[in-house]
Amino acid sequence: MPNAVTAIPQSVLRYLRIKPGTHACAEAQPLWQEAQALSQPRTWQKNLSLDDFLDAFAPHAAGSVDLSRTLAGCREVVLMAVTIGDALETRGREYFSQGRPFAGFMLDRMGSYLVEAEMRGLHAAVRAGNAASGLVTSRRYSPGYKDFSLEAQAHFMRLIAGALPGLSLSSAFMLTPDKSVTAVCGIKTPD
């Protein structure tokens, strides 16, 4: 008996900017199944003291006012990295070369959703773990946003040190596979 096809969640439809019940939604349905099948999520995390973090990420961490605000009062920093691999983006490019841009574009958007969902899940797990110890976890912050330079990705790569095989950095400090993301969050005692 074939597996039941699950409907695309509303949150995904909103992300894709597709209305439920439309032709686009029906066409996206099998692509969502495909995206989930191709996604190979792997995660990495590491805790550093605030001082060690500032040293390891010098000069980029200290140079970011927004990051400093996020980490205010924190004594420890959690580094997080997520990738879903390259199978999904490869398949997307195949769709484009076959003259099926809808499928290619949707797969790309679904990949972005899935990697973001993995990072959300990782952050939530970190938060839950810290909460169990009576600690508060800050929101997460990624290189490339506002004044936290994308170049900080290089520090991540150095610290990941091969723990995520296949993950690399371009000369423009962008992660490959495309559907990969890094972030930091802080840990502090409640006020």
């Binding site: 032709h23 066409e27 003259g99 841009p101 949707m106 423009a172």
Partner: protein, 531 residues
């Protein structure tokens, strides 16, 4: 098919004035002179629906407005009037038009004649002043309703007169009603129109309201009108889906394009384009978007109708298949699109007609819907999928065209985001615009080299990161300098904007792939390049 569908005609017959040795002021009062002029006009202009040379102020005059007549111009209101309290009357000039209607029926047996009446809201505005009426709608609605009711009374009498004289179609022109907001349209214009149509339920009817009536279309259809004549500013593809089955779309060649046409060939091209777009619709009549001005050369009016007949004849045999093909592509149905193309080819259709009247019609429609914010990027991409499926079957049968690259496309230096560029490239290629994709992280030198090698007239650069935005600022002047010839530069992507594009000297900005396709087509007119 409705009496009103499948026809070709210009609205009204004002150029007939050129064929009379008499002035317009005489034509307005002399039935014989008017019939002579209009009959001569229709002997040259083989229109499928005839009009008796109507002027917009005839009913206002019957309500008491004073008119100014002149030999060379249409009559106009010289002095407004308070709407009279007494019963509305038909005037001597209305009798002239009734006589001309009967004359046309005798002179051109078998051809329907339009009984052209002006809408009550327009007539009330002509009589008491348009500003006064609009103010009254807001501040003294009772007074406005009374004025419109009196104008309706007059219109009912006039319509009866024309229909008794033999008019086959009740044609109501209500230009001023287009200024009403939807919330007020019903009580001041829509209800009176409905009463006009209801008074003659067995007579085919049509309404023309000038300007963009997109927001009012639902209100207009609520009057029960059977056919809507659209102004030339409307994109018929954007309103097509809003017209219920069985109601006719009439339109909408720009009357000035007819009046100013320098050659029959040039006019025929414009007519072909409109008919390829709308001629496959099951309920469409080709007409002008408004009345041809009196100064229009009669041979131009004749050329418009002749070209229209030829174009409608060319699409008629395959109309339902082509319409179905367009619908399949719009809906993103790849299998159906490919299948219908196969059927068309097996049936001996001209491949260029399949391309223009089927596949590209869908592209134009999605573009029109996107402009009207009735479709989104996902719809454009689904359509592109189906377009590609159809083109795969059709291209081997199309005449060889130039393989010249028209646009060099890439993501800016330092940026590795490919998806936006990939979508733009896919949409452009599907629409026949050949693209050379430089990939991601493409610098000014790469663009310049590609432009030099291909001779492409356009460059398209996307940027999604702040670094790429900074790189783009430096790239544009370098590309221009190294190109050594005028090139059109389009920028897009999350890191760009309309203002940014202007700041860095780009020629255009596109917020997404659907917008890019439209912008590229207009850029190619500005920067045609070589074939």
């Amino acid at each position: 098919m409705s009496l009103l569908a499948g026809l070709v005609y210009p609205i009204n017959s004002l150029p007939a004035a050129r064929l009379s040795g008499r002035g317009i002021d005489v034509l307005c009062h002399d039935a014989d002179a008017k019939l002579d002029a209009v009959a001569r006009y229709y002997e040259q202009v083989d229109a499928d629906l005839l009009f008796f040379f109507s002027d917009i102020v005839i009913q206002a005059e019957a309500l008491g407005a004073s008119l100014a007549y002149s030999p060379a111009g249409m009559p106009r209101v010289a002095a407004k009037t308070a709407i009279p309290a007494g019963p509305a009357r038909t005037s001597a000039r209305m009798e002239v038009n009734a006589a001309v209607t009967s004359g046309l029926k005798r002179a051109f047996p078998g051809k329907p004649v339009a009984g052209m009446v002006y809408g009550p809201f327009t007539v009330a505005g002509q009589a008491m002043g348009e500003e006064a009426l609009m103010r009254a709608c807001l501040t003294s609605p009772g007074q406005a309703r009374a004025a419109v009711a009196k104008a309706l009374e007059g219109a009912l009498g006039y319509a009866r007169l024309l229909l008794d004289a033999g008019a086959d179609v009740l044609w109501v022109s209500d230009p001023f009603a287009g200024l009403l907001p939807p919330a007020l349209f019903g009580q001041f214009a829509g209800d009176p129109l409905a009463r006009l149509f209801d008074a003659h339920p067995d007579v085919p009817n049509a309404v023309h309201i000038c300007g963009d009536i997109g927001q009012l279309l639902a209100n207009v259809l609520d009057t029960g009108v059977q056919a809507v004549s659209f102004d030339q500013v409307m994109d018929l593809l954007a309103v097509e889906d809003a017209m219920p089955a069985g109601r006719t779309i009439i339109g909408n060649m720009d009357p000035l394009a007819v009046a100013d046409a320098q050659s029959a060939g040039a006019l025929a091209q414009e007519v072909d384009a409109l008919v390829q777009t709308m001629g496959t619709h099951p309920a469409f009549s080709l007409s002008t978007g408004c009345a041809l001005p009196p100064s229009t050369p009669v041979e131009n009016a004749a050329a418009f109708v002749d070209a229209g007949h030829a174009a409608m004849r060319a699409v008629a045999p395959g109309a339902s298949l082509l319409f179905g093909l367009s619908a399949s592509v719009e809906a993103g149905d790849m299998e159906s699109a490919a299948g219908i193309v196969d059927v068309c080819l097996c049936s001996g259709f001209d491949p260029l007609l399949v391309l223009g009247g089927g596949l590209m019609r869908a592209v134009r429609k999605q573009s029109a819907l996107y402009e009207a914010r009735k479709s989104h990027l996902a719809d454009i991409l689904l359509m592109t999928d189906a377009l590609n499926a159809g083109m795969k079957r059709l291209s081997p049968h199309l005449p060889k065209t130039s393989d010249a690259v028209r646009m060099v496309l890439g993501t800016a230096a330092g940026d590795h985001h490919a998806i936006g560029k990939d979508v733009v490239g896919a949409v452009l290629e599907a629409q026949g615009i050949k693209v050379l994709d430089l990939g991601v992280d493409a610098g000014a030198d790469a663009f310049a080299k590609a432009l030099a090698e291909t001779g492409a007239p356009l460059a398209g650069i996307s940027a999604f990161t702040s670094q790429a935005r900074a790189a783009l600022r430096a790239m544009v002047p370098v590309i221009r300098e190294k190109a050594g010839r005028p090139v059109g530069i389009l920028v897009g992507g999350a890191a760009t904007s309309q203002g940014f594009a202007a700041e860095i000297g780009a020629d255009a900005f596109a917020r997404d792939a659907a917008a890019a396709a439209r912008v590229v087509k207009s850029l190619l007119e500005k920067f045609p390049g070589r074939d």
